[in-house]
Symmetry: C2
Subunit: 432 residues, 2 copies
Amino acid sequence: MSWRHPRAPFAEIFGLDYYRRLAESAERAKLDAIFVADHVAIWDSVESGVAHYANARLEPLTLLTALSAVTKHIGLIATASSSYYEPYNLARLFASLDHVSNGRAAWNVVTSAMDEEALNFGRDGNIEHGFRYARAGEFLDIATALWDSWEDDAVLIDKETGYFADPDRVHRVDHTGQHFRVRGPLNVPRPPQGHPLIVQAGSSEAGKNLATRYADVHFAIIRSNEDGLRYRADINARLKKFGREPESFKILPGILPIVASSADEATEKQAFLDTLLPDRVAIDLLSSWAGLDLSAYPPDGPLPALPDESTFNGGRTSLNRVKDWTEQNLSIREIARKLANTGSVHPVTGTPSQIADQLEAWFVTGAVDGYNLMFPLLPEDWVNFAEQVVPELQRRGLFRQEYEPGTLRDRLGLPRPANRFATARDTHRAAS
Amino acid sequence: MSWRHPRAPFAEIFGLDYYRRLAESAERAKLDAIFVADHVAIWDSVESGVAHYANARLEPLTLLTALSAVTKHIGLIATASSSYYEPYNLARLFASLDHVSNGRAAWNVVTSAMDEEALNFGRDGNIEHGFRYARAGEFLDIATALWDSWEDDAVLIDKETGYFADPDRVHRVDHTGQHFRVRGPLNVPRPPQGHPLIVQAGSSEAGKNLATRYADVHFAIIRSNEDGLRYRADINARLKKFGREPESFKILPGILPIVASSADEATEKQAFLDTLLPDRVAIDLLSSWAGLDLSAYPPDGPLPALPDESTFNGGRTSLNRVKDWTEQNLSIREIARKLANTGSVHPVTGTPSQIADQLEAWFVTGAVDGYNLMFPLLPEDWVNFAEQVVPELQRRGLFRQEYEPGTLRDRLGLPRPANRFATARDTHRAAS
């Protein structure tokens, strides 16, 4: 509800200029990437959703593709749903963005947990959790195969001989699976990054397995250094099962940094944001996230029993967050306000130096590889962070002063994926 | 095959800069719009397709969205398939492009006639012609309803009262049809143009009916002034059936302008382009377009009997073009070369003044409303046109000197669509 803040933007959130200024400022601060979250529906299962919630938004691929033309270095992480897109179309959109941005495209794969989303795509309600994740895995198998379908040297444009492409280096993918049949090849040459960067944020069992199997970057929920170290150990064990090295996978917890010159100022800032959120909206949000209708329960009483995670088809990450709070004996109203204010994002408040201390602490122990910064109030909280915290991190040698050349993968130290078709041929040759 | 021309571009066709320069030049010439064609497959049913044909390309929405950030006035016409997209996703992409471009988005609706396309989307081969067009109509019903689902004044962002939107002005579309079920509302506010401009190019019966029912702009095949006047009469009769005025619909034939200082130079230019096209590729193309395997027929003999249009599921426009040529007793080789060189596009060659004469002739009689310019050799043929023909048209008062303010619809003199939900409420109020 921070859209109600006096210094929050108005309808300029539906035009390009507002985001162009934010992106330019993020690029001046040398950030790795811009991330745009998404849903493929408006949240309207409860009445207050349409009225009070900032439901309308620009589609992320559109926004980030437009920004690719007015930025040079910064990565572009667009959220898109593996449950409600066709693999050929989405693989093509990301391959094309990777080309026009010179290797800066990243796909945050989401499986879409809302009933409202399912209803926009011919379904009666949300699809089963396991089904969504199985489809996501198959979707990623196809997308990565399509990105490989043109080998790196397949395009010849040999005007003398008339060969536009080398037919031996352009491949059908001939996928037939549970969810899709896709022949290929893609009609876009291999992306500069080989595969656009894959990001996954699921923290359920299925989510962590999908992430460690396919993703390069993982948005995680981490609340302490110990928590982070434990989480990384769990992740590393999963990576090993998939034959991957820990270095090929970056863990970035979401944090909510609020720069304040004193503890009092930070409390005041939060208290003011709190006044912008009607209880009704917070409780409606909690109803949606927890899969319960709470409208008839007393707001100051306890939450009724939550659904069982193993059969819950909504977002299990949020469900577990709520479960943690119920164990702290918080009321419906208190849990609802916590959820609405920060979701599952860890707040980091203080002076620039105190914030830098906290960011440094988790980073130097290896608990995290970086952070997914989220701000309650844009552009103000971001500008404060960029002007005050970034220079402090640079002084400490924890953050770059200038962009390194190369693609987003290069910058993050992530390998460019080998091409499965070229690898298969080389293996075949070596064997024969 | 003009990619083989010594002055044709190389791999820069997969980056943004090449198109940015073309777009900037088109904007300097004050053109209405840039149009990007598309297929959702590579043409590989015949072997020569992959080897010799410029199959790989950037996805049009990506390319035009990136260009929207570096241009200010020019319209952006992206091709997208109603057979292989989900309405919610595509309506959202075009709505978002219309927002970031301040009302310059246009959708060229295609139904995708190639077998290769069907195979990338879980089908065994191309879907039946009538089915494709029925789906396109239903797709457009949904897309336009989704664009209306937020009324123009639905977004409030009223920080005082906490109303982000007026729930009475945000509507579900609740569509249940033969091909789709979509609940809505869209999660993007109404596009600046109301609906992004709709373009349709089908010249079959089904194509012309789809165009006159839903489209604002029609890419047509017109070969003479008389042909154009006949075509418009046919179109006007169809518009009337759908309750539309002739002025609400713009007919733009495709033309292939080649500036040459003499008839000899024009012939020479064409002859040189001809040398770049191997017979084999031309005949393979003809095989695909006509739905016949011609590889075993003597190239200098006649075409075998063509499929019947009424049961042909490929592109009927090309089929009819081929049919016209067989009636002129041309050989397979001759027809193939004609098809490959200009497709169904009318060539207009001569000096700048001669080309202007021809463009003026069809325009002043009302046979056409403008032209869809296609060039055999980019950027050269376009640059010649921009520098030599555009000034001549401006001198004659046939073409603008400066952009008028407003959206693409405004510039083309096309009305902004009324919002069906607002209209329904007003009608209800007036009646009660």
